[in-house]
């Protein structure tokens, strides 16, 4: 049982083995979104605002914030974006950049305990990112590849993940503060990508005892009906023990898969969150609408 505790100034979110699946909203990311990139580069954050609020409303547990726009001052934009998003929501954030200076700029302005996204198993990256994670008391996403690249053998990737955990321990970073990304490959290109991912997720959970995350839409790359494939993957990955994903909470199929997996794994007592989310609204003027839901005493929150 491993709990990764993230926070904003006023709210805690826990990624854990016996917790509801943590949905990390991926929308605030200009990569591949030309219009958003152009806006952010000129200091227009209106789309960022809209994306933040929409993802919160859709049920995200955390938000990922990325400001990777070529030929701009990424550290400054990332810091500014983080401050803006933190003023809009109390959900904890993942600070997402491949540039160490940008991670540091984000960490410096962040209120609470964020998730740093990410570090790989490459020695140079470990030595640059882990000290920051320690300095700012953050948690970190660890991607299971290293100098040799991404192995197709899940057991090799397991060894990379273990190396990162051990390395982090040298810096005084607890295993609970490392969330491993097993790197899910497109199933359309690699027929064993699903089985390899589930095998690795199980090992990471039972042997290395770490929480896990991944980019949930990678698996369906190059296929039609990607939402259907992503949903199947998320439910199965959750069943194998994955505890979070960086994904688009605006897609109802994927969210239903995650919420359904929570119910089936016993992480949604009495189906309360499922009911709250999917109960049809009471018809206008009915007794239910008129008052029965206006309770003077609330249920203990689920």
């Amino acid at each position: 049982m491993t709990d990764t505790v993230l926070s904003s100034a006023t709210r805690e979110v826990v990624i854990g083995f016996e917790r509801p699946f943590c949905v990390i909203g991926e929308r605030i990311n200009p990569t591949g979104r030309k219009k958003l990139a152009a806006q952010m580069a000129t200091g227009d954050f209106s789309q960022v605002e809209a994306d933040a609020l929409a993802q919160v409303a859709a049920g995200a547990s955390m938000l990922d914030v990325n400001a990777g726009i070529p030929l701009t001052d990424e550290p400054a934009i990332l810091a500014q974006t983080i401050q803006l998003v933190q003023s809009l929501t109390d959900l904890p954030l993942a600070i997402d950049s491949s540039i160490v200076a940008a991670l540091e700029a984000g960490l410096a302005v962040y209120q609470g305990k964020p998730l740093v996204n990410s570090v790989t198993g490459e020695t140079e990256r470990l030595e640059a990112v882990l000290p920051l994670v320690k300095k700012y008391n953050a948690a970190v996403v660890a991607i299971s590849n290293d100098e040799t690249g991404i192995s197709e053998d899940p057991d090799v990737r397991f060894d990379v993940a273990r190396k990162i955990v051990e390395h982090a321990a040298d810096y005084g970073i607890a295993r609970a503060d490392i969330v491993v990304d097993p790197l899910v490959m497109p199933i359309g290109a690699l027929g064993n990508a699903g089985k390899a991912a589930f095998h690795l997720i199980r090992r990471l959970r039972t042997e290395l005892k770490v929480n896990t995350t991944c980019g949930a839409s990678n698996v369906s790359f190059g296929l039609p009906n990607r939402h259907g494939m992503n949903a199947a993957f998320l439910a199965m990955a959750s069943g194998a023990g994955m505890t979070s994903a960086i994904m688009n909470p605006l897609h109802p199929e994927e969210m239903a898969a995650v919420r359904g997996a929570d119910v089936l794994l016993g992480h949604d007592q009495d189906c309360r969150r499922w009911l709250r989310t999917y109960r049809e609204p009471a018809p206008a003027g009915s007794v239910a609408e008129a008052g029965r839901r206006e309770r003077r005493r609330a249920r203990p929150s689920a």
């Binding site: 189906c271 049809e280 009915s286 007794v287 239910a288 029965r292 309770r295 003077r296 005493r297």
Partner: protein, 234 residues
């Protein structure tokens, strides 16, 4: 949530307390319902009045909202569990004071069938409505029904089946009752997902009950009808 524990049930007058208990029942708050029952008893309410005005009235609301698709199975089970908590306090007192039960029912899921959620809902809703319920559980052979009918002399026999392969067993039970000339001693109600009115009629049951709330309404209706017939005959 912060306001959860703020409310002091003792500070409410009887009317407000009863309303609050119905809300708590609706929300499946067992401890709070039990506390409410104790307070009303301390204030001199008879156990029967607590049962009918607080608990049964509350479960009626739950039943209606379940029927209307506003509440779902997990919530009804939570409410029923809260009701059970209140009933556990009231039952011994009701027995002492000899309050009139609405009627008596023997219920069970038929032989070969192990589904019991729907049957349990009916049991709890019937108890909630003031019936005495003898629940025979699942996988009941005809002999088990007969023995229970003999022992408890209920007004109503309820049978449940969730499978098309087990529902014909209801006819076996009813035919056996007919052979023994016992059929008309009981109101026979049947229910379960694959059933319908036509099936109920074809096997010689008195009525098909679509869900737990309908079961309670149907049971009351048939009891009243039978009572009237007997009064007329006398």
């Amino acid at each position: 949530m912060a306001e959860t524990d703020d409310l002091d049930l003792r500070s409410l007058d009887d009317d407000e307390l009863v309303k609050q208990m119905q809300d708590d029942l609706y929300d499946g708050l067992r401890d709070e319902v039990e506390e409410g029952v104790r307070i009303l008893l301390e204030r001199g309410w008879t156990p029967y009045r607590v049962l009918t005005e607080a608990l049964v009235a509350g479960m009626t609301i739950v039943g209606v909202d379940f029927r209307d698709g506003i509440l779902f199975v997990p919530e009804v089970l939570l409410a029923a569990n809260a009701m059970k908590g209140g009933m556990a306090i009231l039952r011994p007192l009701l027995a002492e004071t000899g309050a009139p039960p609405m009627g008596k029912m023997v219920i069970g899921t038929v032989k070969g069938d192990i589904h019991d959620i729907g049957k349990n809902l009916v049991s709890m809703m019937m108890e909630g409505a003031g019936f005495e319920v003898i629940d025979l559980g699942i996988n009941c052979a005809v002999e088990k029904y007969l023995a229970a009918l003999e022992e408890h002399k209920p007004d109503i026999l309820g049978m449940s089946a969730l499978l098309t392969t087990t529902m014909p067993y209801m006819k076996v039970v009813i035919d056996t009752l007919k052979q023994k000339n016992l059929r008309d001693d009981y109101i026979v109600l049947v229910g379960g997902a694959p059933l319908n009115e036509t099936f109920a009629e074809a096997i010689g049951a008195d009525a098909y009950c679509r869900d737990a709330a309908v079961a309670v309404e149907t049971a009351k209706e048939w009891l009243a009808r039978r009572h009237n017939q007997r009064t007329a005959a006398a």
